[in-house]
């Protein structure tokens, strides 16, 4: 058993996944996917739905692109990626509409905007178009999870301050006055910038200026 776990830890696929989780985390290192990251993090459930949607699209786009990587002509590759991504986003959109209509209502157009989430395009171009199917899928999973936990952290801060709840459960004391600003756009900017400040200081990322 222990031997198996060790073997798993040493496998390349696993390493690829861990890189996505921390060192190449899409949000705070590569600064991708900020739009949806800011817009859907006012409630934790929206952030989870968005994270899951993006992860799903990432994994299956990676699978498609990686499987077809030797057949896609370089000249039209971007539009091919776009079509692959858009198809999977339609699946996510339909799924949410069928099973979680309330969340679909809340994050509305942002589901469609997964298509223009630069993370997916970036990974397709930088990783999936050059690597084996399994590694590409693990990369998609790692980056997707890295993206999701970032969204959830930001959403926890914003929902608890803005609504006094987390996932609908009351966490703040009764005397708490909702900090409405946190649920609105400026709050998103402030929380994300503070989050960037903290994580970039810990990870030692320097921006080139």
């Amino acid at each position: 058993m222990a031997k198996n776990i060790k073997k798993l830890l040493r496998a390349k696929g696993f390493k690829v996944m861990m890189i996505g989780l921390w060192r190449d985390n899409p949000v705070f290192c590569m600064l991708l996917g900020i739009c949806s990251g800011l817009a859907v993090t006012n409630k934790v459930e929206n952030a989870i739905a968005m994270g899951a949607g993006v992860t799903f699209v990432l994994i299956f786009t990676a699978l498609t692109i990686s499987a077809l990587r030797n057949f896609i002509p370089a000249r039209v590759r971007i539009i091919t990626y776009m079509i692959a991504i858009a198809s999977f986003v339609i699946i996510v959109d339909r799924f949410l509409q069928a099973f979680y209509p309330v969340i679909r209502e809340a994050i509305g157009p942002y589901v469609g905007l997964i298509i223009t989430n630069c993370i997916i395009m970036g990974r397709a171009e930088a990783f999936a178009s050059k690597n084996k199917i399994t590694h590409s899928m693990m990369d998609g999973l790692g980056v997707g999870l890295g993206y999701s936990y970032t969204l959830v952290i930001i959403a926890i801060v914003r929902e608890s301050l803005g609504f006094g709840t987390i996932l609908g459960f009351r966490v703040m004391p009764d005397g708490w006055t909702n900090w409405v600003m946190m649920a609105m756009a400026p709050g998103a900017f402030f929380v994300l910038s503070i989050y960037l400040w903290i994580t970039r200081t810990i990870a030692g990322v320097e921006s080139k200026e």
Partner: protein, 195 residues
């Protein structure tokens, strides 16, 4: 007419696409380091957004809806957008070489600029008429440009005079500036009302 003006004002100020809907943030952060680049990008966005919305509306209402396949509108919209970006790029290469040089790799990124797709999606969601769509698209793009110009101008001055903490440099501080500007834009709230 009054209705169109309302839509325009709402798109620029009260429902600013960058500061209220938080869209188009990737180029926003990448390009708001210099005022000049921000200006060029803003013009390009205005052009592409208005153009794509003007093309997408007839495609959606005259082809997709009668044919009963609204389902695939994501794919159709994104293809239209990618094609128009290609067009703008070709025009720029030919006539505005300097501008092209200062954009570097960011022009192709307009394709993945959420503003462009978002405007087309909002157009469907709010079922605007053709004229309203064009006014809304133009207004949204102008609003986006306004926001990026304000932030870029502040950022440019700020970097000269202040000692920003290490981890906050670059994107972090841009985000804080944008947050403060978004607060200021909240002051426009209640000026006009749209659904």
């Amino acid at each position: 007419m009054g209705n169109l003006l309302t839509i325009f004002i709402a798109a620029v100020f009260t429902h600013n696409i960058a500061l209220t809907y938080l869209l188009g943030m990737c180029p926003f952060i990448a390009l708001s380091k210099s005022f000049k680049t921000a200006f060029g990008m803003g013009i390009a966005v205005i052009f592409v957004v208005t153009l794509t919305a003007a093309i997408n509306w007839p495609i959606y209402h005259l082809i997709l809806v009668p044919a009963g396949c609204e389902l695939i509108y994501y794919i159709v919209f994104i293809i239209v957008i990618a094609a128009s970006v290609q067009l703008v790029e070709m025009i720029m290469e030919k006539f505005f070489v300097v501008l092209q040089a200062s954009f570097g790799i960011f022009l192709p990124l307009i394709t993945v600029n959420c503003t462009v797709l978002a405007v087309s999606l909002f157009m469907v969601l709010r079922s605007y008429s053709y004229l309203a769509t064009i006014v809304f698209a133009f207004g949204s793009a102008v609003g986006w440009m306004l926001a990026i110009l304000i932030v870029a101008a502040i950022n440019e001055k700020l970097r000269l005079v202040s000692d920003i903490p290490k981890g906050l440099r670059g994107p972090g501080i841009i985000m804080i500036i944008a947050g403060i500007i978004a607060l200021a834009f909240l002051g426009f709230g209640g000026m006009v009302r749209i659904q």
